[in-house]
């Protein structure tokens, strides 16, 4: 934790970066998910998350005097504020994919509920809209957590993956919201993998994600 409290645009960028990067990771299942329904589901969820990222970036951009695209694609990897949880690449491991999906969506629901109470009216309004859509992401994640838990092998692999990712999941949230996540997931709080340092997986992701934009600087899309 830095000594200085993060500004409201820092908080907004952290959320927007989480949504963009998790959306990118979700989209990696497009075309190769275990079956067609999940191909459609993960593609649609990815589109939803990236849409939310855009809305959060737009709000930040009005404060910072820039554009959503510039915030999403023109920063250096070390300037991103996303949590390490969303950076990890899991394809083709379905158990870890579902474990992250479940932890991310559960934490995101807690975070969005908090943002709805923001004194910043635009952010509170946007959070209320995002929440309506995120209900379906969380529903999908819980459905899969239950489905994996219904078989012995599925439950073992899912539990192992949740245990591995639990310190990362806590790093999505701050303060009391971590305790709420622990209660919701039914686990004890541990030392979190905090935002700030990035995993080795961010640079290759960034490289791919920004490639088209970097190839034609200043182009209008």
């Amino acid at each position: 934790m830095s000594a200085q409290a993060p500004s409201r645009t820092d908080l907004l960028l952290a959320i927007a970066d989480d949504e963009l990067v998790v959306g990118w990771r979700n989209s990696e299942w497009t075309g190769i998910a275990p079956f067609l329904e999940e191909d459609v589901a993960f593609s649609s969820i990815a589109q939803g998350e990236i849409g939310h990222a855009r809305a959060f970036y737009e709000l930040a951009a009005t404060e910072l005097g820039t554009t959503a695209d510039a915030l999403a694609f023109d920063r250096r990897p070390d300037e991103y504020r996303c949590a390490p949880l969303v950076e990890l690449r899991f394809v083709p491991d379905w158990a870890r994919t579902i474990a992250r999906h479940y932890l991310y969506e559960t934490a995101d629901a807690i975070r969005i509920a908090g943002l709805k109470e923001s004194e910043w009216d635009e952010l509170a309004g946007l959070a209320a809209k995002v929440e309506r859509e995120e209900v379906y992401h969380l529903m999908h994640a819980q459905m899969w957590a239950d489905r994996l838990a219904a078989s012995t092998d599925g439950r073992r692999r899912f539990d192992e993956a949740v245990t591995e990712l639990w310190p990362y999941a806590l790093g999505l949230l701050e303060g009391e919201e971590r305790e709420r996540l622990a209660e919701t997931v039914g686990r004890e709080p541990v030392d979190a993998v905090e935002r700030g340092a990035h995993t080795d997986e961010l640079v290759p992701l960034w490289d791919e994600m920004t490639m088209v934009r970097r190839s034609a600087p200043g182009a209008e899309w």
Binding site: E37, E122, E133, V135, M139
Partner: protein, 161 residues
Amino acid sequence: MVTEARVWEALAEVADPEIPVVSVVDLGVVRDVEVEDGHVRVAFTPTFLGCPALELMRERMADAVRGLGAEPRVDVVMDDSWSTDRITPAGHEKLREAGFAPPAPRGAGAPQLVQLQRGTFRCPYCASTDTRLENIFGPTPCRSIRYCASCRQPFEQFKTI
């Protein structure tokens, strides 16, 4: 002379880019229209934030206003003032005719999986409620996939948000 009524009429002709049977007015995404000295301000709420048709809808609404000889400003309102309950009765009917099951009313709380798994959703082709959820997600963010066991037809169900 451009009036608010004429702007609403013009917007009622702007088709949704992905489901062209319904207009932006049927969808209830036009929140407000103001006319002042030949300048028209349209307040517009997106359906889903990830909707790829958002920009296109905005441009087409601006074009419709220009068609009346007025200068448009289309403001996007990012709050939760739009829900599927805003889709008009005429919009519901047009959706059904085109093979999309219109959204269920929102009710008090957020939608839950058990509700979607119930057989209360009506098939837009044969009107049977013997239908089941195939996929929460569909070809666009606003739709789910259901299957009608009565006429053996998969169909797209508008999500309630």
